[in-house]
Symmetry: C2
DNA sequence: TTAACATTGTGAATTTATTAACATTTTTCT
DNA sequence: AGAAAAATGTTAATAAATTCACAATGTTAA
């Protein structure tokens, strides 16, 4: 496989979730237009994405749900699984930890961090909370590759630097402050205010 | 102004936030490449976005921070302000409510909803929690245009239908389930799992 | 004063993403 | 059997987003 576009990767992740639900309902096959309807996109887009990963469906029967789930897994998951940590166990950190706990096998949250001493040592959804000062040590011990940052904006860069120094390979930044990482670290930033302002803009302009 | 691209709208929101910080620090002017560095994009991109909104900077001095903040406000804010509600006051709902409380003047969260009777009547960051059954009534009374949905996935479509019926104009869906809305309602969906899986993919493929 | 420099603004080129169009194939119906 | 229908797979066309390239111009320094 040559090079999957970023957008295709995102959609594959979403297709998989939809497919898992379909599988749970007992569907064995699904048409491109059914996936498309669920995801609010076009059937052509779905077929193109699936073409890009080299899968081919059955004419008139559509795609085999089980096979497609497995193939998407081969593309986007790592065989060995990836360990993840959450830094900042406030409301957002807890929401995310909760969300993931026990769900994925390939991506597991194995540590949470906070600078609030009263939280350190407690468990959140079964995952132990460590002191942020121990980030370096814990990340190495637990072989953590990805960090999810849910601290206040003013701490964002400082925590980022700690994570980078600890050897993190990917960072998901949910703080409102953009941070800097060296180019070998993959960075994804998301900001709720931007999303809400965007909705407000399009509501305003009909 | 003709038609601003979606991506430009998102970036304008982000520029504004960066600019507000710069303004708070006492900066009166800023160069395109400074904004670009903060946002991890190119200076040309910044200049082009600013060109699109019809602002023009000063050669060799860059952009006037105050003026640019105000102009972006004119573009993306509504004069009268927009009222927003949060449905589902679990961890994520509280994180968002907390995040916004007291910050924006143009976008304000004026109600939160939950189906848990023990939460109804309580206040969350100063905002009263109503019963989901009263969504229709409260949305009309309080003139709410935008809903942020942070309920469990299995309730997503049901709540969406209630919001749509109540006359909501924009919906930000933070549940893991895509929902359907009539075409006159602006829908933005965001899913944390997809973001994390994307990071994992790019970490895996270096 | 004049040359070197740094910055904005923008048309053109390029790249990325989406959509259209349609050939192909299997199934169903008559 | 043959026609009609419904689906996939894919090339080509189009649209959207980004980057390049550079003219224009104010600023600084010699």
């Amino acid at each position: 496989m040559k090079h999957l576009p970023h957008k295709t990767i995102e959609r594959l992740s979403q297709y998989r979730r939809a497919l898992l639900l379909c599988h749970a309902k007992g569907m064995s096959h699904i048409y491109s237009h059914e996936i498309a309807t669920i995801q609010h996109i076009t059937a052509v887009q779905v077929r193109r994405d699936i073409m890009l990963i080299g899968y081919t469906g059955t004419l008139r029967k559509g795609y085999n749900v089980r096979e497609l789930i497995d193939l998407i897994g081969q593309i986007i998951d790592s065989d060995e699984g990836i360990n993840v940590c959450v830094v900042g166990i406030g409301n957002l950190g807890r929401a995310i930890t909760n969300y993931f706990s026990g769900k994925r096998t390939k991506l597991s949250i194995v540590a949470v961090f906070d600078n609030d001493k009263s939280k350190v040592g407690k468990k959140y959804h079964g995952i132990e909370c460590y002191n942020v000062e121990d980030i370096g040590k814990v990340i190495k011990e637990k072989n953590i590759d990805i960090g999810i940052m849910t601290v206040p904006g003013e701490d964002a860069q400082k925590i980022t630097d700690l994570l980078v120094k600890a050897g993190i390979k990917g960072l998901l930044n949910y703080t409102p402050k953009p941070v800097n990482v060296p180019k070998e670290v993959y960075l994804e930033e998301y900001d709720m205010i931007t999303s809400l302002e965007k909705v407000a803009f399009f509501v305003k302009t009909h």
